[in-house]
Amino acid sequence: MKTGLRALGYLALTVAVLAVAFPFLWMLDSSVKSQLEATLFPPSVWPQQWHVENYAAAWNAAPFGRYFLNSGIVSALTALILTGTSALAGYAFGTLRFRGRSTVFALFLASLFVPPEVTLIPNFLTINFLRWQNTYAALILPNAVGMFSILLLRQAFRGLPRELAEAASLDGCSRWSYLWRIGLPLVKPMLTVVALLGFLRAWNDFLWPLVVTSDESMRTVQVGLSVFVLDASVQYPLLMAAACFVVAPILVFYLVAQRQFVTSLATTGLKG
């Protein structure tokens, strides 16, 4: 009875996991089929011939090199600046004592309740006003601050013993060198999480880059990919190849750092 139930559980799980993984497998499978083979119905399960050159063809069908460069720069800098602003704010809220701390903290918390649909149009106008259309600044700065990241780092700094900062100060260590040489190295695991999440969010972001870029040379991979799919003449094997190389960097990150990804994404909730 007990083992029967267990087997049933495994069966249900396996069916569910197959259903979840299927689109990814199908994406890989279709990406190496010839255009002719892709028009078969019912489709062939295993590619008759492997057309790995689809990847090169897809890469050259649109300026993907440029898109990758843009997304790489934007995601890396977003992650870097986000980590910087969050670490500084987290240090202030987590370690330092100052008048008005709870008031300022409440003000920061209020940003959690600002709905993203409301900020879209005003931010678009702000970017226009600054003449930042088609610039990296427009793509990076709005995502370079986040309350969840600040909360994570505040928590990390609060976890450090207070005596540590006091001892450092008695030894003549300034607050800045304490932060740089002692505090930040100690909260490094959390810094990594914040940077990973910032990178992931920036890499996968679609609506904002769509709105602030009109110039093809400033498009990110997601916007480039969407334009690629909306162009009805592109063949499905090439589309699948393009989808493959757009998700590949993230999936590699994910497989390497899955624990950090899963737990931190789960704690920062649904955004996106």
Partner: protein
């Protein structure tokens, strides 16, 4: 003099440093989070086509009242929320319950379930367009194995209840036909995308339930079903409530996945026949295609207020049924 005030100076210095640390984040929050809320209200009170064209008071809001297309978009949004959130919760909870009992390889299952959520909505939407393709898609091939006729999925504008009515010989107005099959397809993809997150959060909720509580119930003679019904589910209500609130907000704000699944060419958003045009897509259409910024700003604010009202309602109606443990010690 300096020496005696050293302690105060130290504290002062700490205060100054603290505010210096907060400035970068605060500036960015002010420019891209706080100011936009005020500015959105300002824009919504103006005629604004690319540039400001004069104050119009509440005219944009009055226009919403007579906008049947927005009404339709709201109905479709409600379908979308009702067709995704309960399924995400139920499947997430069910799978988490099984996964929790799994001794070997649980991490592998979790890894796979969570995979859609880390990949980009644009890429997975493209893959799903291919899987659900009406002529060549894998989904239809699967139906074919079971002898079921091919469906048109994302290209099907007729309501899913239509065949039922036809079979019963009833003739009902369009609104009673339910969401289009296209919108249902979008819902399926949405549930697929967010399922992993729900599983992971439910797993965290299950881990937080003390082992002794379950064991005590079993020793007192409760069956597995009874443990589930009277112990596990009540202790999971905080998780369920949190996910309900967050997933509802998320469903109302969902954009990228729906946009890439349902846009054809560069202008046909929410196809077929606008049956997948949910509120966020409708606002985007007014804003980005028609460049009616004033009207779009008013719509965005209204949608945000509707979401707020629903969240408040969920708290008012459901929160007292949530079981919060008062003490762990």
């Amino acid at each position: 003099m300096r020496r005696s005030n050293r302690r105060i100076a130290l504290v002062r210095g700490e205060e100054r440093d603290a505010y210096l640390c907060l400035i970068p984040a605060l500036v960015l929050l002010a420019v891209f989070q706080y100011w936009p809320v005020l500015y959105d209200v300002y824009v919504s009170l103006h005629q604004w086509k690319v540039v400001e064209q004069g104050y119009v008071g509440l005219a944009n809001y009055q226009r919403i009242l007579g906008d049947a297309d927005f009404g339709q978009a709201l109905i479709q949004t409600v379908y979308y929320v009702l067709g995704t959130v309960p399924f995400e919760l139920a499947l997430g909870c069910g799978i988490a319950l099984i996964l929790f009992e799994v001794k070997h390889g649980a991490w592998f299952y979790r890894l796979l379930f969570f995979m859609p959520y880390v990949t980009s909505p644009v890429a997975v939407a493209i893959v799903w367009r291919w899987v659900l393709n009406g002529d060549l898609g894998a989904a239809n091939a699967l139906l074919g194995i079971f002898g079921i006729k091919s469906l048109t999925w994302l290209d099907e504008p007729t309501g899913i209840l239509n065949p039922l009515y036809t079979a019963l010989g009833l003739k009902l107005p369009d609104w009673a036909a339910g969401p289009s099959l296209a919108l249902v397809s979008v819902m399926i993809v949405t549930v697929w995308f967010y399922l992993g997150l729900h599983i992971v959060i439910y797993l965290a909720g299950l881990t937080a339930i003390p082992r002794e509580v379950r064991e005590a119930a079993r020793i007192d003679g409760a069956s597995s079903i009874q443990v589930l019904r009277y112990v596990i589910f009540p202790l999971l209500t905080p998780t369920t409530f949190f996910l309900l609130v967050v997933a509802t907000i998320g469903a109302f704000q969902s954009f990228s996945l729906i946009y890439v699944l349902t846009t054809n060419g560069s202008s046909d958003i929410g196809s077929p026949l606008g049956t997948t045009l949910v509120a966020t897509l409708y606002v985007f259409e007014r804003f980005y295609q028609d460049l009616q910024l004033g009207y779009a700003a008013a719509l965005a604010l209204l949608v945000a207020l509707i979401v707020l009202a629903i969240t408040v309602l969920q708290f008012a109606v459901l929160e007292r049924r949530v079981y919060y443990e008062t003490s762990n010690e």
